[in-house]
């Protein structure tokens, strides 16, 4: 559905306009919801209007991008790896149109394509460190939607982080898979259960809608879980330890600012250093977050130290998607 809210002052003509195209339904992904917030905020800030085109599959992605290009807004924002090919094609055909891709970049560089990419693995690594420090069984694991490089970013660094602080930690990863991997919370719960029955007591949940299933499984066994994108602690207080926050909204807003400010064609990478990736536990509202980590200040202190090492470049985290 199109959400073309005019901004407060509402002069549609002459005002700037932005179109956000998503790769999937917004409902399924927290970081897409953040992206929508980002583009709304940008519209407000720039006194303009915005639209959101939600896609469901490759065919609708192409149709939506084409429709966005046809409508000629000031900036077209696209979220997701899926758009790299389409943007490369459209950017060449429409050199006057500005594009902003979040989460990916075209292989060739274009003057009219700006990119914002995230280093989720840095945040996941810190979450893994928390898990390593908190785990009693010495076993931590992750449940991913699918076995793809993009989801491996949520499991491999988690293991690495845990091993960094507790080298003997055993790690494992499960993938939801099945006919509808993004929506299948029951299957995600079973996958979490297979980890739990092996004694795993700290689980990274990167299972989209399945996260809630992972939380339920962990809760039932008195184990702990880690959420993604936003603060998921309130949905299962006492079970969710922390979350890897990905500030898609910030990336969208800053990206649009940059494009409008004449700095198009650049790639900005957001990690711990830039504040694009963070943990709920490292943010200011931690005490009211309902996250378990709020009660483990000692762990947070150690994690903060790791964070500082990563920020300073002293410690680098491997990116599974870069292989």
């Amino acid at each position: 559905a199109a959400k073309n809210d005019a901004s407060s002052s509402g002069t549609k003509s002459g005002g700037t306009s932005f179109t956000l195209v998503t790769p999937d339904g917004v409902g399924q992904n927290e970081f897409l919801k953040l992206a929508v917030n980002g583009v709304k905020a940008a519209a407000k800030a720039h006194n303009g209007t915005q639209k959101v085109y939600e896609s469901t599959d490759t065919a609708s992605q192409q149709q939506n991008v084409q429709a966005a290009v046809d409508a000629k807004p000031d900036v077209i924002v696209l979220v997701g790896f899926e758009f790299a090919d389409i943007v490369a094609q459209q950017a060449q055909k429409n050199p006057k149109q500005q594009f902003l891709i979040v989460d990916a970049c075209t292989t060739k560089t274009f003057k009219n394509v700006s990119c914002a990419v995230f280093r989720e693995h840095e945040g996941v690594y810190l979450a893994g460190a928390e898990a390593g420090l908190l785990s009693k069984s010495g076993k931590v694991g992750a449940v991913d939607v699918l076995d793809t490089p993009q989801f491996r970013r949520y499991s491999d660094p988690f293991a690495a982080g845990a091993k960094k602080v507790a080298p003997k930690t055993q790690t494992a990863t499960r993938f939801v898979g099945g006919q509808s991997p993004f929506d299948d919370s029951a299957r995600a719960k079973e996958q979490a259960n297979t980890l739990l029955s092996n004694g795993t007591d700290e689980i990274m949940a990167a299972a989209a809608a399945g996260n809630y299933g992972v939380f339920e499984a962990a809760k039932a066994k008195g184990a702990f879980a880690y959420g993604v994108d936003v603060n998921q602690c309130p949905s299962s207080p006492g079970t969710v330890v922390d979350n890897v926050i990905k500030r898609t909204d910030v990336a969208v807003q800053k990206g649009i600012d940059a494009v409008l400010g004449g700095k198009a064609g650049t790639t900005v990478s957001y990690g711990l250093k830039e504040g694009g990736i963070s943990l709920t536990g490292l943010e200011s509202g931690v005490d009211s977050s309902q996250c378990v980590i709020a009660k483990h200040k000692d762990v947070l202190t150690k994690v903060e130290a790791l964070r500082d090492q990563i920020v300073s470049g002293e410690l680098t985290v491997d990116d599974p998607a870069a292989s």
Binding site: G27, S185, Y212
Partner: protein, 288 residues
């Protein structure tokens, strides 16, 4: 331990919603209505059970509402395929599509959220001995359906209607009545399957959360030759293959292999059973 009690529990949990839906499908099949809309009816059950449980605080009312809502929804198939003699396959496909759209729409209008509705205070079904009461109901339903079909007056008539509707009609048995009945019962069972999935297996609703379970139920109906015990075995095989698949991921098998495992196992079982049957009865020329 690879084959341990956790594996069995996991298989049984995966099995329950599939079994309930497949029993409904089997009844329809016996009555001569090909019901491919199990997935949609189940999804509607998921939503209704969660919404009702949320607003009333009672998961039991949720179960009841799910059964009623899915039964009402199944009327689309009954009216379309039985009364109007439309194509049951197309109707089923459309019902599945409709259920996805409708539940997502309701999710947004009723709860004001997109994607998933999940709340720590949402009341799910209690567990008795590790399973929700609906799981026990599912087992009871297998027995009930088996007795109904083989021994009960209704079951006899239902089988007759499915096999030769005009023969039943000449004896004053209305095929349409029995077909409506079967479709409505399948609606109720799919509603229960949905409630089991959304208030038993997990406690939340998310868009399209049935994720193909209705289709697996359809396969189980075919594989089990629409006999309650056959359907149970088929669903059990499937559940075990899936649970074992999860374990195999732990042994390093790629996710794609474990995704395919239940289907490959099912196909293999099918080959074996039909090979045995074929050795017993040889097909003959035109008469086959």
């Amino acid at each position: 331990m690879f084959f341990d009690s956790d594996l069995l529990m996991s298989a049984l949990r995966a099995l329950t919603p599939i079994l309930l839906a497949a029993l409904g499908g089997a009844l329809c099949e016996r009555a001569g209505v090909f019901n491919i809309g199990l997935e949609g009816m189940m999804l509607l059950g998921c939503f209704t059970s969660v919404a009702t449980s949320w607003f009333t605080g009672s998961p039991w009312l949720g179960v009841l509402a799910a059964a009623l809502a899915s039964a009402a929804y199944s009327l689309v198939l009954a009216v379309g395929a039985v009364t109007l003699r439309g194509d049951a396959v197309v109707l089923g496909i459309a019902m599945n599509l409709l259920a996805v759209g409708l539940t997502s729409f309701l999710l947004r209008t009723v709860f004001g959220v997109q994607g998933t509705f999940d709340d720590p205070t949402l009341a799910g079904l209690p567990l008795v001995g590790g399973f929700s009461p609906l799981a026990y109901l599912a087992w009871a339903a297998v027995a009930a359906a088996a007795v109904l079909l083989s021994r009960h007056v209704w079951g006899l008539r239902l089988r007759g209607v499915g096999e030769a509707p005009d023969a039943a009609a000449t004896l004053g048995v209305s095929p349409a009545r029995y077909q409506y009945g079967a479709v409505l019962v399948s609606g109720v069972l799919c509603g229960l399957a949905g409630a089991q999935l959304a208030l038993g297996n997990v406690t939340l609703f998310s868009e399209n959360m049935t994720a193909g379970r209705g289709w697996i139920a359809v396969v189980a109906v075919m594989l089990g030759r629409a006999a309650p015990l056959g359907v149970l075995l088929a669903a059990l095989l499937f559940g075990l293959a899936e649970a074992a698949g999860f374990r195999l991921q732990g042994l390093g098998l790629p996710q794609q292999a474990t995704d395919a495992a239940p289907y490959v196992v099912t196909l293999g079982a099918l080959f074996l059973t039909t090979a045995r049957r074929r050795r017993r009865t040889r097909p003959t020329g035109v008469a086959s």
